[in-house]
Amino acid sequence: MIHTDIVIIGAGAVGTAIARELSKYKVDVVVVDKRDDVGGDASKSNSSIICTGYDCPPGSLETAICRSSRMLADQTVKELEIPFNVCGAIMPAINEEQMNILKDIYDDAYKNEIFDVDVVSGKQLLDMEPELNPETIGGLYIPREAVIDNFLFVVAQAENAAENGVQFLLRNEVKDIQVENGKVKAVITDKETIQTKYVINAAGLFCDAIAEMVGECDFVVKPRKGQFFILDKNTNCQINHIIYPIPTPTSRGKLLLKTIHGNILCGPTAEDLEDKEDHSVTAEELAGIETDCKKLVPNINFSDAITQFAGLRPNRIPAGFHIGFGKTEGYFGISGVRSTGISCSLGISRYVVKKLQEGGVKLERNFDFNPYRKAIPRFSEATDEERDALIQKDPKYARVICRCETVTEGEIVEALHRPVPPTTLDGIKRRLRAGMGRCQGGFCSPKVIDIIARELNVPPESVDKNVPGSYILTGISRQEGGDHHA
């Protein structure tokens, strides 16, 4: 039995940001998540953009939160050493009809007080982005749109929250929330019972099921699948800005950008589904990404694709941000954060803490809070002198395990001994990019499995790819104890 003040359900971008924000106060916080790692679902599989909020619905809570989140990001990425690139976005138009749509978007941006959005000429856009469709006649420039390492964004906040006292319980699936006399009493997972005064539902795609546990579910959450392509860093056709298509009334469309690590990303699709586990990619939808992205950048070369993936955005019906206490005392719900979870998480965390205080939760500042988190030193980004120094300190930094992304054993060992450590192959991949390059782990995964097993002192067969049950090895093929000894 664990006793705490606040349980946060869900270790995605939103849950983790709230955990870190709460670690600035003298309060006990436990984060539970059914997955093997922090990073959630939608938070780890998305386009990795931190938006300014230029196209959010004017006057909405989402707009206010998104705008403040973008401001908070500048400071947070410095404190936590998170890779972040304010590359700016463009939205090109190829005809007058599209230019008219842009005008509305521009007007909305001003209503949202994003005054740095500008209308630019086709020539200016082609100068900025030479691979753009040459028929471009003009468009919008949104200079503060940025890309982030969306996974490290979550990891870094989790690590910092843990350093400041937050407890993370992963591989714990919430089965029930105990309510007594209209008041939250405990969160029951498949492994633990956690007595608590407050529960914050940050379960994203599954927040409806959690809300149902306290009988407060007047909405449903449906998955909206987004499929993506990632291209090799070496692909010939390169871009440097986020390139947004002209949105349609139903979808923001498929964009292109260069990720923080230099790969071209194309997507997402928007497919409304029922199955919350369906992360499959399909030939038809991938072909659609190709067609649509080529309209924006005709020379983009999809034969350089190194991977495809799908994420599920939690599509709340009815839509809209819903953040606040429920009727059950101690229950605090967050829903409707559909596709701006990464973008809005920092703002949401501030908003949630304020709402908690307004709702009578006594939160006293913890002035011992350490806002800083050191990133793992990256061999691939180090200078020769820095590399030499790293190797002198630890020879494991000389042993390159992932050749595509130049990740060393030193970095992997370091990651495994951090607060909120990874335990799976994908956990290492997402933190360090080992296995994310063009060979997709063909070369490094056998070695990474061995390193995880060695460092965590478990048999290699028990190392999963990601979720429990995603085992990689089926056992050793030659065992001692055979009767033949030569």
Binding site: S477, R478, E480, G482, D483, H484
Partner: protein, 120 residues
Amino acid sequence: MTRKNIICTVCPMGCNITVKADGSEIISIEGNECKRGEIYARDEFTCPTRTLTSSVLVTNAKEPLLPVRTEKPVPKAKFGECMEIIKATTVHAPIKIHQVIIHDLAGTGVNLIATCSRDV
């Protein structure tokens, strides 16, 4: 009369050879482009043999396994028996390449030998 189709693996030509036989007695061999094919087909028909390669557990070395092979081809039909013995075998480093690991593997009269050295 029985017919057996055999793809010759002696050279990259890959001749499709047909062996006609009455019981175990070969009546004709057709389809081979050279004499080596005929010999191959005859052997394949009467008693197909292969070099079996595998690995055994090795202790006291940097790597867990020692690659091994049969010194000469062994009857294909004996593979299962050979593998059971191989899987149950543990050796201790140091091992020298071509050192005999198992004498007379599974009664084939053929030795199993190391195909790699393993230092301590």
